[in-house]
């Protein structure tokens, strides 16, 4: 079963009302394109270091409207954490049990930020009109076509139409009229700008992947001069540099691989599904994605700290896209993904 936008908000509101010592409602500055308020919640136990000095983790979902499982997954994760903390109950996810004591330590160490549904208008449209809708509900002026692909709209090589990115408003991969033109994405940027976020995950569906940078080009670790800051943006053209490879330091690449593998292992512990850890480019080239943007920020502005950015693609490809985007029984997929996200939280907590 999939919750409506209002029901997702109800869960967040009740979490905050029930456990105010743990949960803080974070009203975000932008309503959606069609005026829906977008809530986020911070979850952090009062015992432990000051919250603003803790490692921060930001989890978002629902960027692509039709990928319905993931907003439900995030509110269920939040509820499980709060229940574990307050009641001392372990979180049992298939064959993997997360002991309450470990989760308590996580909540006393980390500041967790959860934005369950980035794109509420799109989710409502999926439930009421078109269950394969992907974008937000922006009315694109001068066209009969609606929507911006919110995972092509961030300020990392925005408007470079490498691979699966387009400047054409009628496509499903339209990058919008400018970087962060969309209010839904301004909310994500707001959280990255105003909170100390060490780890960021954007949860999508499907194909059982744990993705890390980069999405626009093959990674290389030897030539720091070959990097995205030297590339033009907003061109509405592909990179146009045959053989271009994007720099990432060997240490950072090793860190991404190590953490991605940890997530993969903890997903597999639930029921044996083996997700694949890999750079985004391996799936298909993209620009303007949330997770690459999160990672790029400290490179574009050296005064910023690193935010390790991941995209998790939940669920198998199958052979029917409708069933893959919103399976009749999403429970096993949500539980394994929850285990992967708990693994990331544990990494953030130093465990």
């Amino acid at each position: 079963m999939y919750r409506t936008v209002a029901q997702l908000a109800t869960v967040v509101e009740q979490l905050v009302a029930t456990a105010p010592e743990l949960c803080t409602l974070l009203p975000l500055p932008q309503s959606s394109t069609q005026g829906t308020p977008v809530p986020a919640v911070r979850i952090a136990a009062p015992d432990g270091p000051p919250i603003d000095r803790r490692p921060g983790v930001l989890l978002i979902a629902g960027t692509h409207a039709r990928e319905l499982m993931n907003p439900d997954l995030l509110v269920e994760l939040a509820v499980d954490l709060v229940a574990a903390y307050r009641n001392g109950t372990d979180v049992v996810l298939g064959n993997r049990t997360w002991p309450a004591a470990q989760l308590r330590t996580v909540l006393e160490t980390v500041a967790l930020y959860v934005l369950p549904c980035v794109n509420p208008d799109g989710r409502t449209y999926v439930m009421t009109v078109d269950d394969m809708w992907r974008k937000n509900r922006r009315d694109n002026p001068g066209t009969s076509c609606d929507g911006v692909d919110l995972n092509r709209n961030a300020d990392i090589l925005w408007g470079v139409t490498e691979g699966q990115t387009s400047c054409a408003p009628c496509t499903d991969i339209y990058c919008g009229s400018g970087a962060f033109s969309e209010p839904e994405n301004k909310n994500v940027k707001h959280l990255l700008d105003t909170r100390h976020i060490d780890h960021f995950v954007d949860v999508h569906s499907f194909s059982e992947l744990v993705i890390y940078p980069w999405g626009h080009a093959v990674n290389q670790t030897t030539d720091p001069a070959q990097n995205f800051r030297t590339l033009p943006t907003g061109t509405c053209r592909p990179l146009g540099r045959p053989g271009y490879q994007e720099y990432i330091s060997a240490d950072d690449l090793a860190q991404f691989r190590q953490v991605a593998q940890r997530i993969v292992d903890e997903i597999a512990a639930v029921r044996g599904r083996r997700y694949s850890p890999e750079p985004g480019m391996t799936l298909y080239p993209t620009t303007g994605t949330h997770s690459d943007y999160a990672w790029s920020r400290h490179l574009a502005d050296p005064t910023l700290a690193k935010t390790y950015g991941y995209t998790i693609e939940t669920g198998p490809s199958g052979n029917d896209a409708r069933e893959a985007f919103h399976p009749r029984d999403p429970e096993p997929i949500k539980r394994e993904a929850e285990s992967g996200l708990l693994a990331l939280l544990q990494v953030a907590a130093g465990g």
Binding site: R3, T4, A9, A19, Y125, C145, H204, S207, N319, D320
Partner: protein, 133 residues
Amino acid sequence: MTDSTPMSPVDEPADGQLERYEVVLDAPPAETADQLDARTAQVSALDLDRLPDRQQVRLLVDAEQLDRLRAAGLQVSVQRSVAIQPLDPTLVASEDDVTGWLTARLGPAPGAADDRTPAPTERPGTAPTDEER
């Protein structure tokens, strides 16, 4: 923002489409990596919605886009037609589903008639800032 109003259709597909098609590009026998790259570059140039499938080039397209794929000389297999329709209503949670699950996990909502829990005590220094309220 809690809204218990039953959902009803709020809009209609703007362009009058009735269906899309889920398609895969047929790989020629013994395709080389370069040939695969060339084929996927053709798809990218057509600005189509490629589904996240690592095993094959798989897309969700409308009739006009399907024609463009074929006009580009790509071999396409239509896997199924996908009607443009709302999510199956049986997959949407009811208010009772949500309330029952929350109560089972967290206890009754504060202030609810069956709430027997004491009001949570705010610990010093943990109150949300004005910005966060």
